[in-house]
Amino acid sequence: MWNYEKRLEFPVNIKESNADIAQVIISQYGGPDGEMGASMRYLSQRYAAPYREVAGILTDIGTEELAHLEMVATIVHQLTKDLSMEQIEASGFRNYYVDHTVGIWPQAAGGVPFNACEFQSKGDIITDLMEDMAAEQKARSTYDNILRLVHDPDVCEPIKFLRMREVVHFQRFGEANREDCSKAKHTIQSLRRIPTRPSKLWTSAFAPKERTCLDFCRACVPAR
């Protein structure tokens, strides 16, 4: 289950309306590399994760993506809530306005609605983690593009924060996908035999003597 915390992960206080920028940023709400796809991807994939470390990182990053979804919605809301009819008529926002007024609805910048086909849940943890790493890079590129288009510091600061989180998530998925962290515990063949049911292989994966791969992980962390 989840608990709501009544605050944003990073503050958003936008003073000036801007319909054109809102239409660009909404892509990170419901677009192909947006936060809705990110959260649904990780929270759906985690059930097929055969290792608790990997199920854990998918749960925690999926949860953080929900906080990012809320930040993106807040940015769009604050950019549009005080628009005048003249501003709406003069901008490209009129096409969104006719269907949604200034409500928040998941779509890409080009108007394409959110679609679950924007992510996969393959039931194969190595396939899934590879997709997750690519997804973080694609989202990072989108935030880079947004930063090239936006000049209001009130909007740039939260976007820069969101961009930075993509980089950290990429790093963590990379660690979860390393030979020494998860894959070496089983051969690919045995992994494919245990996608859904706990088995002898499953329990042995969590026995202390099997944890040597994690000691190796630690050795790779730079000394403080």
């Binding site: 915390e5 605050r7 944003l8 992960e9 503050p11 206080n13 925690d60 000691d215 992980c217």
Partner: protein, 92 residues
């Protein structure tokens, strides 16, 4: 934290909650892939305690941040719903 300008004490305390909670989020993700790192566990213990204290202090003084922070004993109305939502801007 020291050289930032805040409009009031509430804004400063919410900023502290945000900073401390962010450290906890960052450490949680790191610990997911490094569950035996004792230094990171020690950091987590330290900052999680501070973040919880800041959250409790803010909730007691201004507005409940989570449902478990709601203290209905000395209130005649439901503060959880009546206090501002995070997307309203201003102090968030």
């Amino acid at each position: 934290m020291m050289n930032m300008q805040f409009a009031n004490e509430q804004e400063k305390l919410l900023h502290d909650v945000g900073v401390l909670s962010f450290v906890v989020t960052e450490l949680s993700l790191y610990l997911d892939t490094h569950p035996n790192d004792r230094n990171a566990l020690e950091y987590f213990r330290h900052y999680n305690r501070m973040a919880n204290q800041a959250r409790q202090e803010y909730s007691a003084k201004y507005a409940p941040l989570t449902i478990s922070c709601v203290d209905a004993s000395d209130c005649s109305n439901w503060q959880w719903a009546l206090t501002p939502m995070p997307w309203e801007g201003g102090c968030n």
